[in-house]
């Protein structure tokens, strides 16, 4: 199931592209670049417009629907101190008003077309996903091109949307203990890199944004050469290009800023906090500095995370939840980011148990995987879980488009999900031992003990 090698160029790619290009705008001439397999049955065709807009098409005729996703290569890591949360606020504003559609009209038209639509923002990207019955694709192309090039930003909408985002923050962070502690963990673990602030932004920053801030952000980052369109579904590549080329062909590329990256210096000693929160039980949160998604260690560390935290058969779930009955839940996650992120661990103690009590056996298990290799059976279990997770995410056109777009945006390789599956089969227990010793180092971790307010005075 190889996904890395290019496949044969479609026989009729050039003739129909030439016809489409004959009526393209000044920046719209499309070029066919290559095709890559996406799993055993599907193919991704790669195109690029003269203005830099990339278009990936995966024909999938299983149902009469089409997913049209737009990925902008801008996320919260592109923000600056004092302007955190702007990428996310802007995602909200993209649903407001354009030169030809009044406030709210865009969503109304999409719903009337039977569309499923949403958007999301994270550290490295902003993602707009729309799926429609296939005959409504022209409407989606019109809407997405319109808001890429002709969005209107006005004070009333910005003011209202800031309040919506502030309420979203209250919901996801301020009144949610796991969200609040995760935010604190990243702010503790990162001192230099832009991953230190949350994607949703700090509340004072959200409340201080002006319409001008939003307009400058739009002008800087929302350009065709900073975006990739991913189309999956019951449509031909030719039909997609017939719609996309005239819709986006008039947009010039922008001069993208050089990213003001500040690599995180190595962490040399453990950072430990004890905080009180309005929670019913104690929590323990850990963050180890972890490799970027593009690092060859990322997959091995992810597989180690599966061995340790993936499901009820995992080592640490068994130890903390079943054997010692100290925790209600425990989970671990290696972040899939452009730059090095965190291997996060979250454990919720049972009533009457302390976060400190969780830490000792948790550390014991983490030290064990640094001392001796996991078993072949454990690695096989982790591989099978990875495969099930991948396949389960590909049932819908939206699932396929999200998988393609995510890996294309972060790694530049749209079929990398299958590459990872193939690479997992080549991993050995030695690889997991190596990454355990490289990354599970106490001096490179941040640790937060969360106690209910009423017990803070009694905490050690």
């Amino acid at each position: 199931m190889s996904a890395t090698s290019a496949v044969k160029r479609p026989k009729d790619a050039t003739p129909w592209l030439a016809k489409i290009n004959a009526s393209a705008g000044p920046h719209g001439t499309a070029t066919y670049e290559r095709s890559t397999p996406f799993g055993p049955a599907l193919t991704i065709q790669h195109f690029r417009l003269k203005n830099g807009l990339r278009v990936l098409v995966c024909e999938d005729h299983a149902a009469p629907v089409v997913a049209y996703h737009t990925w902008y290569r801008v996320g919260s890591r592109h923000e600056s101190v004092g302007k955190t949360g702007l990428a996310h606020l802007f995602e909200h504003l993209m649903f407001n008003e354009t030169e030809t559609m009044g406030p709210g009209e865009l969503d109304r038209k999409l719903e009337e077309a039977g569309a499923e639509s949403n958007a999301s923002t994270w550290l490295d990207w902003t993602h707009y996903n729309i799926a429609v019955p296939k005959d409504r694709l022209p409407l989606v192309v019109r809407i997405e091109s319109e808001r890429m090039g002709r969005l209107l930003l006005r004070d009333p909408q910005v003011t209202s949307e800031k309040e919506v985002v502030a309420n979203e923050r209250r919901f996801r962070v301020d009144d949610d203990v796991e969200g609040a502690v995760s935010e604190l963990l990243w702010a503790t673990a990162f001192k230099e890199h832009a991953y230190k602030w949350p994607t949703i932004g700090w509340m004072p920053d959200i409340q201080a944004f002006t319409t001008e801030d939003c307009r400058a952000f739009y002008d800087t980052f929302y350009s065709p050469n900073n975006a990739t369109i991913v189309v999956v579904g019951d449509v031909s590549a030719r039909r997609v290009l017939e719609l996309v080329v005239p819709a986006y062909g008039g947009m010039p590329p922008a001069t993208l800023p050089v990213e003001d990256a500040h690599p995180e210096p190595p962490q040399t000693e453990e950072r430990r906090l004890s905080v009180a929160k309005p929670t019913v039980t104690e929590k323990l949160v850990l963050g180890y500095h972890a490799p970027a998604l593009g690092d060859s260690d990322h997959l091995a560390l992810s597989m180690l995370s599966e061995v340790l935290f993936g499901g009820r058969a995992s080592r640490i779930y068994r130890k903390l939840v079943r054997e010692l009955e100290l925790a209600v839940d425990v989970h671990g996650f290696v972040g899939p980011f452009h730059a090095p992120g965190l291997f996060e661990v979250y454990a919720s103690a049972r009533e009457g148990k302390t976060a400190d009590a969780l830490l000792e056996p948790l550390d014991g298990e983490l030290e064990r995987v640094c001392r001796s290799p996991v078993t072949e059976a454990e690695l096989e279990r982790a591989r099978a879980r990875l495969e099930l997770s991948l396949v389960s995410g590909l049932e819908t056109v939206d699932g396929k488009a999200t998988t393609i777009g995510f890996y294309d945006t972060v790694l530049g390789r749209p079929a990398a999900a299958f590459e990872r599956l193939e690479a997992a089969s080549a991993l050995s227990v030695s690889d997991l031992l190596r990454v355990a010793r490289r990354y599970l180092r106490k001096e490179s971790r941040s640790l937060i003990l969360v106690r209910p307010h009423s017990t803070e005075g009694a905490a050690a």
Partner: protein
């Protein structure tokens, strides 16, 4: 309406080779509504214990086997239906089917695992108090369906779980785990004959039993607007649920009410979202919900504004509800909703698992014949008069349950003042059992 579960099992199959994945659902027309008062959580605990002790394996062995096959197996219990749902990659289908049959037919229901599961469940229920929306929903459901099984928690409470015995669980297993109560659903990369063969093996492996009676009464709602404030300290925002009784799939106005709800709060551009979020920015989400089950369920509005906006938001929601009730919807809104529902139906049937899920719901909840097959035509045929009559027949703005989770000392008085004709109000602590 058929109030007795059919005697013959049903096998539903939706084949699709597009993804090398198969889902298998083994469902029963029985659920937590049969849990005896004081023993809430029994059905769910029994299903979880079967999942953990089947096939003559320990829980650890079973979890390892399932994971290594590239599979997942979960137990889900609702009020009137329950199911085991498996998903497996294509090449492991045969091994997974063997294991699934063994799990369902041969659970040890081991005492040590039962006791461990009781402690685990109690801890989970305490931990869930950190999740404001869940806590608010529990109290809303309890007050809306006061005295009815729908008002009792499927998961139980720490004390009801503590009262359960292994004998209770064994009796529950004997009652529900019967070939007579099964509906089997297969979707994905599996053909009809392979699915039928597995279905026959499941049926043969399970004991025969009696079809379960469906003695659940319809819920009723007492008069008046009644407020429950769930007091939780240090909240910056509130969780607000407002509602009354809703619809039953056999109601003649079921689809018209569904269309009416779509206009009121069923989508991102519906009236509720437009007024609460788009115009005022008060709440990140604002939806109304109209679920169905074997008996009449509820109709509810959900918003979560910051504490200082809560009273104004409730007043606005009540005003919108009253307006919807009094004035109904417009021709333009109806035409828009019909186009939305008809066109978006493509996403209700775009995968094999969704298609079989619809067929499964028809069986489990005794939906009217061809409920989903005729859905689009029924939506298209709805008239303005039918929608507005349905709203006036089913929605009761004078008789509402209002649940607000927040910090009572900050929100209590303004909220009570914001609700006209409030019959009574109470304040309950968030960590009280519900």
């Amino acid at each position: 309406m058929n109030d007795v579960a059919p005697k013959k099992r049903r096998v539903l199959v939706e084949s699709s080779p597009t993804v090398p994945l198969i889902s298998i659902t083994v469902a029963e027309r029985l659920g937590a509504a049969l849990d005896p008062p004081g023993k809430e959580g029994l059905s769910r605990l029994t299903s979880r214990l079967i999942r953990r002790t089947g096939a003559g394996l320990t829980t650890e062995q079973l979890d390892e086997r399932i994971d290594t096959l590239g599979a997942a197996l979960s137990a889900d219990v609702g009020y009137t239906a329950s199911s085991f749902h498996g998903a497996v990659i294509r090449r492991s289908l045969d091994s997974f089917a063997d294991l699934l049959i063994d799990v369902l037919s041969r659970p040890s229901l081991a005492e040590a695992e039962f006791e461990r599961l009781v402690r685990e469940t109690q801890a989970e229920l305490v931990d869930a108090r950190d999740h404001d929306r869940e806590v608010a929903q529990s109290w809303f459901r309890r007050r809306l369906f006061e005295g009815h099984p729908y008002g009792r928690p499927v998961s139980g409470t720490p004390s009801s779980i503590g009262k359960l015995t292994l004998e209770d669980v064994k009796a529950c297993y004997a009652r529900v785990q019967s070939a007579e109560n099964l509906v089997l659903a297969f979707a994905g990369d599996i053909d009809e004959s392979a699915a039928q063969a597995i279905a026959e093996r499941i049926e043969q492996a399970l004991p025969r039993g009696e079809p379960a009676p469906d003695a659940l009464p319809d819920p009723t709602l007492s008069q008046g607007r009644r407020l429950t404030i769930v007091d939780k300290p240090e909240r910056t925002q509130t969780q607000i649920l407002i509602g009354c009784l809703g619809t039953h799939p056999h109601d003649p106005d079921h689809i018209p009410l569904h269309v009416g709800n779509t206009i009121f709060g069923g989508t991102f551009t519906a009236r509720l979202m437009h007024e609460v979020r788009s115009k005022r920015g008060w709440s990140y989400g604002a939806y109304s919900n109209l679920p169905y089950d074997r008996k009449r369920r509820g109709f509810s509005l959900w918003t979560f504004p910051k504490s200082s906006d809560a009273a104004a938001c409730i007043a606005l929601e009540l005003e919108l509800l009253e307006q919807w009730f009094q004035d109904g919807v417009t021709t333009k809104e109806l035409a828009w909703a019909q186009r939305y529902l008809v066109r978006s139906h493509a996403f209700a049937v775009d995968t094999a698992s969704k298609r079989v899920g619809q067929a499964l719901d028809e069986e489990l909840y005794s939906l009217p014949p061809r409920y989903y097959a005729d859905y689009v035509d029924r939506v298209k045929a709805v008239t303005l008069g039918e929608v507005n009559d349905a709203i006036r027949t089913r929605i009761t703005p004078k008789d509402l349950r209002i649940t607000v989770l927040g910090t009572a000392s900050e929100i209590g008085n303004p909220i009570r003042d914001a609700i006209p004709n409030l019959a009574d109000s109470e304040v309950v602590p968030f960590d009280a059992e519900c």
